[in-house]
Symmetry: C2
Subunit: 146 residues, 2 copies
DNA sequence: TTTGGTTAGTTGTTAAAACAACTATATGCC
DNA sequence: GGCATATAGTTGTTTTAACAACTAACCAAA
């Protein structure tokens, strides 16, 4: 058996996502401490809407790598929290277009700052070169399995 | 602002764990297709028990990076599925020691093969050097945030 | 040996994930 | 136009995640 094989089999943490779980928990704590009642999942939806809103739930599914029922419920909860509004599309009556509320726009910078802070903490002591390699590998993994 | 900072802030996929989610889903599919009614979370518990069983739920919490209530329920379900048994510790009556059943021992090699296969598929085209860098970075992240 | 703090595990609750099954609308082909 | 198929979104169900609050048992110090 080539050495290659053996090493790959030890990638338990890759499968279980221990690192991303740790980062997500840290970010969640920052949200809680700032009394932003926002889950990481909700944040991940807002993250894309801050770049561009007025997109469909289906677009958000692709962006966040989640299925349609999950998105329905995430948007439900974001709507209850007063962060987004569903506006029926006029060109395609099957679609909801999701728009940010003023409240959601207000918290954008705060949330962005917390995310930045969290990633800084997580990657402290890691060289930029290595970070680039990781980003690259994570992207390949995503492409390989899509 | 140093270039360094800007790049880190773009690590959305690090926080959301898109890659590990993709890997976990792929592995879950293999389990389902083989009629192994086993969730990834249950598998992650068995993964450690296959190395050493007769350990406490608390030990499993540390190993799998989950909290105590989550482990109670995972062990509940593994017990229902006939994969493990709780045996009260004689030296410390607070503790349950978790033992594998014969059934769990039987499926070890099959599960291990599926995990190996999945990681192979995920990392196809990625050099061993880069994989090593990733493992290293993920470990540092975990240490930084623990 | 009693008291106070710690550790192991369980229960309750809310949000989310994944899958199947469903409705409604759109689209492409005859 | 009418029908088959695809797409957008919702609902139902089961399992998990995370947190708080709880019980039971252990341990150490007065």
């Amino acid at each position: 058996m080539p050495n290659n094989q053996f090493k790959k089999s030890e990638l338990y943490s890759f499968i279980t996502g221990v690192a991303s779980t740790a980062i997500a928990r840290r970010l969640q704590k920052k949200f809680n401490q700032a009394d932003l009642s926002l889950t990481i999942e909700q944040w991940s939806v807002l993250y894309h809407l801050w770049k561009e809103d007025g997109i469909s739930q289906q677009d958000l599914c692709k962006a966040t790598f989640r299925d349609k029922p999950s998105m329905t419920r995430l948007v439900d909860n974001l709507e209850k929290a007063g962060m987004v509004k569903r506006i029926p599309s006029r060109s395609d009556r099957r679609k909801n277009l999701i728009y940010l509320t003023e409240r959601a726009k207000e918290i954008q910078d705060t949330c962005y700052g917390f995310a930045e802070e969290t990633v800084e903490e997580a990657l402290s002591g890691v060289s930029q070169d290595k970070i680039e390699v990781c980003k690259e590998v994570l992207k390949v993994v995503y492409e390989n399995l899509r």
